[in-house]
Protein backbone atom coordinates (compact mmCIF):
# COMPACT_ATOMS: atom_id res chain seq x y z
CA UNK A 1 0.00 0.00 0.00
CA UNK A 2 1.11 3.53 -0.64
CA UNK A 3 2.67 5.31 2.25
CA UNK A 4 4.30 8.67 2.38
CA UNK A 5 7.65 8.94 4.10
CA UNK A 6 9.95 11.79 5.04
CA UNK A 7 13.63 11.52 4.38
CA UNK A 8 16.83 13.45 4.83
CA UNK A 9 19.04 13.39 1.76
CA UNK A 10 22.76 14.06 1.79
CA UNK A 11 23.54 14.61 -1.87
CA UNK A 12 26.95 15.15 -3.44
CA UNK A 13 26.91 18.50 -5.24
CA UNK A 14 29.81 19.46 -7.48
CA UNK A 15 29.61 22.23 -10.06
CA UNK A 16 32.15 20.74 -12.41
CA UNK A 17 35.26 18.59 -12.68
CA UNK A 18 37.45 21.25 -11.07
CA UNK A 19 35.09 22.06 -8.21
CA UNK A 20 35.86 20.40 -4.91
CA UNK A 21 32.29 19.37 -4.22
CA UNK A 22 30.47 18.76 -0.96
CA UNK A 23 27.53 16.91 0.51
CA UNK A 24 24.41 19.02 0.81
CA UNK A 25 21.39 18.23 2.88
CA UNK A 26 17.82 18.24 1.56
CA UNK A 27 14.55 17.33 3.16
CA UNK A 28 12.42 15.02 1.07
CA UNK A 29 8.91 15.31 2.41
CA UNK A 30 5.86 13.21 1.64
CA UNK A 31 7.60 10.78 -0.65
CA UNK A 32 5.21 8.11 -1.88
CA UNK A 33 6.69 4.65 -1.35
CA UNK A 34 5.47 3.69 -4.82
CA UNK A 35 7.91 6.08 -6.42
CA UNK A 36 11.17 4.95 -7.86
CA UNK A 37 14.36 6.42 -6.45
CA UNK A 38 14.81 8.58 -9.53
CA UNK A 39 11.24 9.83 -9.31
CA UNK A 40 12.03 10.87 -5.76
CA UNK A 41 14.96 12.85 -7.14
CA UNK A 42 12.62 14.31 -9.79
CA UNK A 43 10.39 15.59 -7.01
CA UNK A 44 13.32 17.18 -5.19
CA UNK A 45 14.49 18.75 -8.43
CA UNK A 46 11.08 20.26 -9.12
CA UNK A 47 11.14 21.78 -5.66
CA UNK A 48 14.69 23.08 -6.09
CA UNK A 49 13.79 24.58 -9.46
CA UNK A 50 10.76 26.41 -8.09
CA UNK A 51 12.87 27.65 -5.18
CA UNK A 52 15.27 29.22 -7.65
CA UNK A 53 18.05 26.71 -7.04
CA UNK A 54 19.86 24.42 -9.39
CA UNK A 55 18.43 20.91 -9.56
CA UNK A 56 20.62 17.88 -8.87
CA UNK A 57 22.23 16.61 -12.06
CA UNK A 58 21.96 12.84 -12.48
CA UNK A 59 22.15 10.54 -15.48
CA UNK A 60 19.18 8.38 -16.42
CA UNK A 61 17.37 7.36 -19.56
CA UNK A 62 15.36 4.18 -20.03
CA UNK A 63 14.25 3.89 -16.40
CA UNK A 64 13.62 0.21 -16.85
CA UNK A 65 16.99 -1.13 -15.84
CA UNK A 66 18.53 -1.89 -19.20
CA UNK A 67 20.26 1.15 -20.70
CA UNK A 68 22.86 1.41 -17.94
CA UNK A 69 22.81 5.18 -17.85
CA UNK A 70 21.70 5.72 -14.26
CA UNK A 71 23.64 5.00 -11.13
CA UNK A 72 24.68 6.53 -7.87
CA UNK A 73 26.09 5.19 -4.65
CA UNK A 74 23.26 5.12 -2.13
CA UNK A 75 24.32 4.70 1.49
CA UNK A 76 27.57 3.17 0.33
CA UNK A 77 25.98 0.78 -2.16
CA UNK A 78 26.08 1.32 -5.93
CA UNK A 79 22.48 1.33 -7.24
CA UNK A 80 21.27 1.12 -3.63
CA UNK A 81 20.57 -1.73 -1.26
CA UNK A 82 18.52 -4.09 -3.45
CA UNK A 83 20.25 -7.00 -5.14
CA UNK A 84 20.23 -7.19 -8.93
CA UNK A 85 18.56 -3.81 -9.25
CA UNK A 86 19.53 -0.63 -11.04
CA UNK A 87 18.91 2.70 -9.36
CA UNK A 88 15.93 3.42 -11.63
CA UNK A 89 14.28 0.16 -10.54
CA UNK A 90 14.89 0.79 -6.87
CA UNK A 91 11.65 1.85 -5.20
CA UNK A 92 11.13 3.97 -2.16
CA UNK A 93 9.25 1.23 -0.33
CA UNK A 94 12.67 -0.12 0.60
CA UNK A 95 13.27 2.93 2.77
CA UNK A 96 11.69 3.87 6.06
CA UNK A 97 10.32 7.08 7.41
CA UNK A 98 13.03 9.43 8.71
CA UNK A 99 15.88 7.57 7.03
CA UNK A 100 18.96 9.54 6.07
CA UNK A 101 20.16 8.68 2.59
CA UNK A 102 23.66 9.49 1.32
CA UNK A 103 23.79 9.84 -2.46
CA UNK A 104 27.23 9.99 -4.05
CA UNK A 105 28.54 9.63 -7.60
CA UNK A 106 30.56 6.66 -8.89
CA UNK A 107 34.08 7.29 -7.66
CA UNK A 108 37.04 6.19 -9.69
CA UNK A 109 40.06 7.90 -11.19
CA UNK A 110 38.86 6.56 -14.56
CA UNK A 111 35.43 8.22 -14.21
CA UNK A 112 35.79 11.97 -13.97
CA UNK A 113 32.88 13.81 -12.37
CA UNK A 114 31.07 16.06 -14.82
CA UNK A 115 28.55 17.53 -12.42
CA UNK A 116 26.92 16.39 -9.16
CA UNK A 117 26.14 12.70 -9.69
CA UNK A 118 27.05 12.65 -13.39
CA UNK A 119 30.33 11.00 -14.30
CA UNK A 120 32.18 10.42 -17.56
CA UNK A 121 32.21 6.69 -18.28
CA UNK A 122 33.88 7.08 -21.66
CA UNK A 123 36.59 4.73 -20.41
CA UNK A 124 34.14 1.84 -20.79
CA UNK A 125 33.59 2.75 -24.44
CA UNK A 126 37.33 2.86 -24.97
CA UNK A 127 37.60 -0.64 -23.56
CA UNK A 128 35.11 -1.89 -26.14
CA UNK A 129 36.96 -0.01 -28.87
CA UNK A 130 40.14 -1.80 -27.89
CA UNK A 131 38.71 -5.18 -28.77
CA UNK A 132 35.20 -5.77 -27.48
CA UNK A 133 33.89 -6.81 -30.88
CA UNK A 134 33.99 -9.49 -33.53
CA UNK A 135 35.41 -8.22 -36.81
CA UNK A 136 32.59 -9.17 -39.14
CA UNK A 137 31.93 -6.59 -41.83
CA UNK A 138 28.35 -6.20 -42.91
CA UNK A 139 27.47 -8.51 -45.76
CA UNK A 140 29.96 -11.33 -45.42
CA UNK A 141 28.19 -13.42 -42.84
CA UNK A 142 27.41 -17.08 -43.56
CA UNK A 143 23.94 -18.47 -42.88
CA UNK A 144 23.06 -18.01 -39.23
CA UNK A 145 22.75 -21.78 -38.72
CA UNK A 146 26.02 -22.60 -40.49
CA UNK A 147 27.89 -22.81 -37.20
CA UNK A 148 25.96 -24.54 -34.43
CA UNK A 149 26.62 -23.14 -30.99
CA UNK A 150 26.05 -25.46 -28.04
CA UNK A 151 23.08 -24.22 -26.10
CA UNK A 152 25.08 -24.14 -22.87
CA UNK A 153 27.75 -21.94 -24.46
CA UNK A 154 25.13 -19.59 -25.85
CA UNK A 155 23.52 -19.31 -22.43
CA UNK A 156 26.84 -18.67 -20.69
CA UNK A 157 27.73 -16.12 -23.35
CA UNK A 158 24.39 -14.44 -22.76
CA UNK A 159 24.95 -14.31 -19.00
CA UNK A 160 28.11 -12.33 -19.68
CA UNK A 161 26.61 -10.28 -22.52
CA UNK A 162 23.84 -9.08 -20.22
CA UNK A 163 26.23 -6.38 -18.95
CA UNK A 164 24.60 -2.97 -19.26
CA UNK A 165 27.83 -0.99 -18.98
CA UNK A 166 26.65 1.05 -16.01
CA UNK A 167 30.00 0.98 -14.21
CA UNK A 168 28.62 -0.21 -10.87
CA UNK A 169 31.33 -2.88 -10.76
CA UNK A 170 33.99 -0.18 -10.86
CA UNK A 171 32.12 1.89 -8.30
CA UNK A 172 31.71 -1.09 -5.99
CA UNK A 173 35.23 -2.43 -6.27
CA UNK A 174 37.35 -1.31 -3.32
CA UNK A 175 40.11 -0.84 -5.90
CA UNK A 176 37.96 0.73 -8.64
CA UNK A 177 38.91 -2.10 -10.98
CA UNK A 178 37.12 -2.75 -14.28
CA UNK A 179 37.86 -6.45 -14.40
CA UNK A 180 34.24 -7.56 -14.27
CA UNK A 181 33.34 -5.32 -17.21
CA UNK A 182 36.29 -6.55 -19.28
CA UNK A 183 35.82 -10.11 -18.09
CA UNK A 184 32.18 -10.07 -19.12
CA UNK A 185 32.94 -8.83 -22.63
CA UNK A 186 35.89 -11.18 -23.20
CA UNK A 187 33.79 -14.07 -21.91
CA UNK A 188 30.76 -13.22 -24.02
CA UNK A 189 32.82 -13.24 -27.19
CA UNK A 190 35.17 -16.13 -26.48
CA UNK A 191 32.35 -18.45 -25.50
CA UNK A 192 30.97 -18.24 -29.03
CA UNK A 193 32.75 -19.88 -31.95
CA UNK A 194 32.40 -16.62 -33.86
CA UNK A 195 34.57 -14.86 -31.30
CA UNK A 196 37.33 -17.47 -31.16
CA UNK A 197 39.54 -16.25 -34.04
CA UNK A 198 40.25 -12.93 -32.33
CA UNK A 199 40.39 -14.27 -28.77
CA UNK A 200 44.12 -13.86 -28.21
CA UNK A 201 44.30 -10.42 -29.76
CA UNK A 202 41.23 -9.28 -27.85
CA UNK A 203 42.37 -10.38 -24.40
CA UNK A 204 45.71 -8.63 -24.67
CA UNK A 205 44.31 -5.47 -26.23
CA UNK A 206 41.51 -5.05 -23.72
CA UNK A 207 43.71 -5.66 -20.69
CA UNK A 208 46.33 -3.28 -22.02
CA UNK A 209 43.71 -0.60 -22.54
CA UNK A 210 42.23 -1.25 -19.12
CA UNK A 211 45.63 -0.78 -17.49
CA UNK A 212 46.17 2.50 -19.30
CA UNK A 213 42.86 4.03 -18.25
CA UNK A 214 43.56 4.38 -14.54
CA UNK A 215 41.44 1.57 -13.14
CA UNK A 216 42.73 -0.28 -10.08
CA UNK A 217 43.76 -3.93 -9.92
CA UNK A 218 41.41 -6.75 -9.09
CA UNK A 219 41.98 -8.29 -5.69
CA UNK A 220 39.08 -10.73 -5.81
CA UNK A 221 36.98 -8.92 -3.23
CA UNK A 222 33.79 -9.99 -5.08
CA UNK A 223 32.01 -6.72 -4.43
CA UNK A 224 31.51 -6.26 -8.21
CA UNK A 225 29.61 -9.50 -8.50
CA UNK A 226 27.54 -8.69 -5.43
CA UNK A 227 26.57 -5.24 -6.76
CA UNK A 228 26.19 -5.94 -10.48
CA UNK A 229 22.56 -5.18 -11.38
CA UNK A 230 22.71 -8.02 -13.90
CA UNK A 231 24.40 -10.33 -11.39
CA UNK A 232 27.31 -11.14 -13.66
CA UNK A 233 29.58 -13.72 -12.06
CA UNK A 234 33.29 -13.38 -11.31
CA UNK A 235 33.82 -16.68 -13.10
CA UNK A 236 34.01 -14.31 -16.04
CA UNK A 237 37.04 -12.66 -14.42
CA UNK A 238 38.69 -16.05 -14.03
CA UNK A 239 37.96 -16.68 -17.71
CA UNK A 240 39.50 -13.34 -18.60
CA UNK A 241 42.60 -14.31 -16.64
CA UNK A 242 42.84 -17.62 -18.50
CA UNK A 243 42.32 -15.93 -21.84
CA UNK A 244 44.95 -13.35 -20.98
CA UNK A 245 47.52 -15.98 -19.99
CA UNK A 246 46.72 -18.00 -23.11
CA UNK A 247 47.16 -14.89 -25.18
CA UNK A 248 50.42 -13.86 -23.48
CA UNK A 249 52.13 -17.21 -23.13
CA UNK A 250 50.74 -19.39 -25.90
CA UNK A 251 49.89 -17.15 -28.83
CA UNK A 252 51.80 -14.98 -31.22
CA UNK A 253 50.22 -11.79 -29.93
CA UNK A 254 52.96 -9.37 -28.95
Amino acid sequence: MTKAINLTLKVWRQKGPEDKGRLETYDAKDISTNMSFLEMLDVINEQLTLAGKEPIAFDHDCREGICGMCGAVVNGRPHGPEKGTTLCQLHMRHFSDRDTIFIEPWRSRAFKIIKDLVVDRGALDRLIQAGGYISANTGGAPDANAIPVPQASAELAFDAAACIGCGACVAACPNASAMLFVGAKVSHLVLLPQGEPEAAQRATAMVREMDSLGFGNCSNERECEAECPKEISITNIARLNREYFKSRFFSNVK
Binding site: E104, S177, V207, C218, S219, N220, E221, R222, N241, Y244
Partner: protein, 213 residues
Protein backbone atom coordinates in the same frame (compact mmCIF):
# COMPACT_ATOMS: atom_id res chain seq x y z
CA UNK B 1 61.72 -11.03 -23.28
CA UNK B 2 60.12 -7.66 -23.60
CA UNK B 3 56.72 -9.31 -23.90
CA UNK B 4 57.35 -11.16 -20.66
CA UNK B 5 58.14 -8.01 -18.72
CA UNK B 6 55.01 -6.42 -20.17
CA UNK B 7 52.95 -9.41 -19.21
CA UNK B 8 54.00 -9.59 -15.59
CA UNK B 9 53.85 -5.82 -15.36
CA UNK B 10 50.19 -5.80 -16.37
CA UNK B 11 47.45 -5.77 -13.75
CA UNK B 12 46.68 -9.43 -14.33
CA UNK B 13 50.40 -10.28 -14.51
CA UNK B 14 51.02 -8.74 -11.11
CA UNK B 15 48.12 -10.71 -9.73
CA UNK B 16 49.63 -13.83 -11.25
CA UNK B 17 52.86 -13.14 -9.38
CA UNK B 18 50.91 -12.75 -6.16
CA UNK B 19 49.01 -15.97 -6.82
CA UNK B 20 52.03 -18.09 -7.64
CA UNK B 21 54.14 -16.83 -4.77
CA UNK B 22 51.15 -16.99 -2.44
CA UNK B 23 50.43 -20.60 -3.37
CA UNK B 24 54.13 -21.27 -2.85
CA UNK B 25 53.83 -19.96 0.68
CA UNK B 26 50.76 -22.09 1.26
CA UNK B 27 52.82 -25.12 0.27
CA UNK B 28 55.61 -23.99 2.56
CA UNK B 29 53.18 -23.51 5.44
CA UNK B 30 51.86 -27.04 4.96
CA UNK B 31 55.36 -28.53 5.03
CA UNK B 32 56.41 -26.33 7.93
CA UNK B 33 53.35 -27.33 9.91
CA UNK B 34 53.87 -31.02 9.19
CA UNK B 35 57.45 -30.71 10.47
CA UNK B 36 56.43 -28.75 13.52
CA UNK B 37 54.00 -31.46 14.57
CA UNK B 38 57.01 -33.59 15.52
CA UNK B 39 57.31 -31.34 18.54
CA UNK B 40 54.46 -33.26 20.12
CA UNK B 41 56.72 -36.33 19.98
CA UNK B 42 59.02 -34.61 22.44
CA UNK B 43 62.53 -33.28 22.41
CA UNK B 44 64.18 -36.14 20.58
CA UNK B 45 61.61 -36.31 17.86
CA UNK B 46 61.77 -32.58 17.14
CA UNK B 47 65.55 -32.38 17.19
CA UNK B 48 65.75 -35.38 14.94
CA UNK B 49 63.35 -33.73 12.48
CA UNK B 50 65.59 -30.68 12.50
CA UNK B 51 68.71 -32.73 11.90
CA UNK B 52 67.15 -34.73 9.11
CA UNK B 53 65.97 -31.52 7.48
CA UNK B 54 69.42 -30.00 7.57
CA UNK B 55 70.93 -33.18 6.29
CA UNK B 56 69.21 -32.41 3.03
CA UNK B 57 71.67 -29.60 2.28
CA UNK B 58 72.12 -27.94 -0.16
CA UNK B 59 68.41 -28.38 -0.88
CA UNK B 60 67.45 -26.47 2.21
CA UNK B 61 69.58 -23.50 1.26
CA UNK B 62 68.13 -23.55 -2.24
CA UNK B 63 64.64 -23.68 -0.79
CA UNK B 64 65.48 -20.83 1.54
CA UNK B 65 66.71 -18.65 -1.29
CA UNK B 66 63.62 -19.62 -3.23
CA UNK B 67 61.41 -18.59 -0.37
CA UNK B 68 63.31 -15.36 0.02
CA UNK B 69 62.83 -14.60 -3.68
CA UNK B 70 59.14 -15.42 -3.41
CA UNK B 71 58.90 -13.18 -0.38
CA UNK B 72 60.59 -10.27 -2.12
CA UNK B 73 58.30 -10.68 -5.16
CA UNK B 74 55.18 -11.10 -3.03
CA UNK B 75 55.95 -8.14 -0.82
CA UNK B 76 57.06 -5.76 -3.54
CA UNK B 77 54.24 -6.65 -5.92
CA UNK B 78 51.79 -6.43 -3.07
CA UNK B 79 53.10 -3.00 -2.19
CA UNK B 80 52.79 -1.81 -5.81
CA UNK B 81 49.24 -3.16 -6.04
CA UNK B 82 48.30 -1.55 -2.76
CA UNK B 83 49.63 1.80 -3.87
CA UNK B 84 48.02 1.60 -7.31
CA UNK B 85 44.69 0.54 -5.88
CA UNK B 86 44.74 3.39 -3.44
CA UNK B 87 45.38 5.83 -6.26
CA UNK B 88 42.60 4.40 -8.43
CA UNK B 89 40.04 6.10 -6.20
CA UNK B 90 41.42 9.54 -5.34
CA UNK B 91 38.22 10.70 -3.62
CA UNK B 92 36.78 8.14 -1.24
CA UNK B 93 33.10 7.58 -0.46
CA UNK B 94 31.71 9.17 2.68
CA UNK B 95 29.71 6.04 3.35
CA UNK B 96 31.17 2.62 2.68
CA UNK B 97 29.11 -0.49 2.85
CA UNK B 98 29.78 -3.99 1.63
CA UNK B 99 27.28 -5.89 -0.45
CA UNK B 100 28.55 -9.10 1.04
CA UNK B 101 31.39 -9.81 -1.37
CA UNK B 102 34.25 -8.83 0.92
CA UNK B 103 35.40 -11.00 3.75
CA UNK B 104 37.52 -10.23 6.78
CA UNK B 105 40.44 -11.75 4.90
CA UNK B 106 39.97 -9.88 1.62
CA UNK B 107 39.35 -6.59 3.36
CA UNK B 108 42.56 -6.77 5.39
CA UNK B 109 44.97 -8.38 2.92
CA UNK B 110 47.53 -5.53 2.74
CA UNK B 111 47.48 -4.99 6.48
CA UNK B 112 47.68 -8.63 7.51
CA UNK B 113 50.44 -8.87 4.91
CA UNK B 114 52.54 -6.15 6.52
CA UNK B 115 52.03 -7.62 9.98
CA UNK B 116 53.02 -11.04 8.69
CA UNK B 117 56.16 -9.60 7.17
CA UNK B 118 57.10 -8.08 10.51
CA UNK B 119 56.33 -11.34 12.24
CA UNK B 120 58.35 -13.44 9.81
CA UNK B 121 61.40 -11.26 10.42
CA UNK B 122 60.86 -11.53 14.16
CA UNK B 123 60.36 -15.28 13.85
CA UNK B 124 63.48 -15.80 11.77
CA UNK B 125 65.61 -13.81 14.18
CA UNK B 126 64.26 -15.78 17.09
CA UNK B 127 64.51 -19.29 15.79
CA UNK B 128 66.15 -19.46 12.40
CA UNK B 129 69.16 -17.27 13.01
CA UNK B 130 69.44 -18.26 16.65
CA UNK B 131 72.82 -19.66 17.60
CA UNK B 132 72.36 -23.41 17.55
CA UNK B 133 75.97 -24.37 18.23
CA UNK B 134 75.57 -24.74 21.97
CA UNK B 135 71.94 -25.66 22.21
CA UNK B 136 69.24 -27.55 20.29
CA UNK B 137 66.37 -26.13 18.36
CA UNK B 138 63.98 -27.79 20.81
CA UNK B 139 65.59 -25.99 23.71
CA UNK B 140 65.35 -22.68 21.88
CA UNK B 141 61.71 -23.14 21.01
CA UNK B 142 60.54 -24.55 24.30
CA UNK B 143 62.59 -21.89 26.08
CA UNK B 144 61.00 -19.11 24.14
CA UNK B 145 57.47 -20.25 24.85
CA UNK B 146 58.04 -20.20 28.57
CA UNK B 147 57.42 -16.45 28.27
CA UNK B 148 53.68 -15.66 28.09
CA UNK B 149 54.48 -12.65 25.88
CA UNK B 150 55.96 -14.92 23.22
CA UNK B 151 52.94 -17.16 23.37
CA UNK B 152 50.59 -14.24 22.91
CA UNK B 153 52.59 -12.75 20.05
CA UNK B 154 52.72 -16.08 18.25
CA UNK B 155 49.05 -16.79 18.68
CA UNK B 156 48.15 -13.39 17.32
CA UNK B 157 50.56 -13.85 14.45
CA UNK B 158 49.23 -17.23 13.37
CA UNK B 159 45.69 -15.90 13.64
CA UNK B 160 46.69 -13.13 11.26
CA UNK B 161 48.28 -15.69 8.97
CA UNK B 162 45.08 -17.70 9.02
CA UNK B 163 43.04 -14.64 8.06
CA UNK B 164 45.49 -13.81 5.26
CA UNK B 165 45.34 -17.35 3.93
CA UNK B 166 41.55 -17.51 4.19
CA UNK B 167 41.34 -15.05 1.30
CA UNK B 168 44.68 -15.75 -0.34
CA UNK B 169 44.14 -19.42 -1.01
CA UNK B 170 40.98 -19.35 -3.11
CA UNK B 171 41.90 -15.97 -4.54
CA UNK B 172 45.06 -17.48 -6.01
CA UNK B 173 42.96 -20.08 -7.79
CA UNK B 174 40.63 -17.39 -9.12
CA UNK B 175 43.59 -15.37 -10.36
CA UNK B 176 45.21 -18.21 -12.26
CA UNK B 177 41.82 -18.71 -13.86
CA UNK B 178 40.81 -21.86 -12.02
CA UNK B 179 37.26 -20.90 -11.17
CA UNK B 180 34.74 -23.45 -12.26
CA UNK B 181 31.26 -23.66 -10.81
CA UNK B 182 31.79 -27.37 -10.14
CA UNK B 183 35.08 -27.09 -8.31
CA UNK B 184 35.14 -23.62 -6.81
CA UNK B 185 33.04 -24.56 -3.77
CA UNK B 186 35.60 -27.29 -3.03
CA UNK B 187 38.51 -24.87 -3.46
CA UNK B 188 36.85 -22.43 -1.12
CA UNK B 189 36.21 -25.16 1.44
CA UNK B 190 39.80 -26.32 1.24
CA UNK B 191 40.89 -22.72 1.68
CA UNK B 192 38.82 -22.34 4.82
CA UNK B 193 39.96 -25.68 6.24
CA UNK B 194 43.56 -24.87 5.39
CA UNK B 195 43.39 -21.48 7.07
CA UNK B 196 41.92 -23.10 10.16
CA UNK B 197 44.65 -25.72 10.10
CA UNK B 198 47.27 -23.01 9.89
CA UNK B 199 45.70 -21.10 12.74
CA UNK B 200 45.02 -24.05 15.03
CA UNK B 201 48.02 -26.15 14.03
CA UNK B 202 50.62 -23.44 14.51
CA UNK B 203 48.72 -21.77 17.33
CA UNK B 204 48.47 -24.92 19.45
CA UNK B 205 52.24 -25.42 19.61
CA UNK B 206 53.10 -22.40 21.80
CA UNK B 207 50.13 -23.19 24.00
CA UNK B 208 51.19 -26.82 24.34
CA UNK B 209 54.76 -25.88 25.12
CA UNK B 210 53.69 -23.18 27.58
CA UNK B 211 51.39 -25.45 29.51
CA UNK B 212 52.86 -28.91 29.27
CA UNK B 213 56.60 -28.51 28.87
Amino acid sequence: MNWFIHTIGSSIGKKLLMAITGLGFCGFLAVHLAGNLTIYGGKASFNSYSEHLHALEPLVTIAEWGLLTFAVVHVLTGAVLFYQNLKARPVRYSVNKSAGGRSLGSRTMPYTGILLLAFVIFHLINFHFADRTVTTIYAIVSGAFKHPAYVVVYIIAVAIAAVHVSHGFWSAFQTIGANHPKYMPLVRTIGTVFSLMVGIGFGAIPVYLFIFV
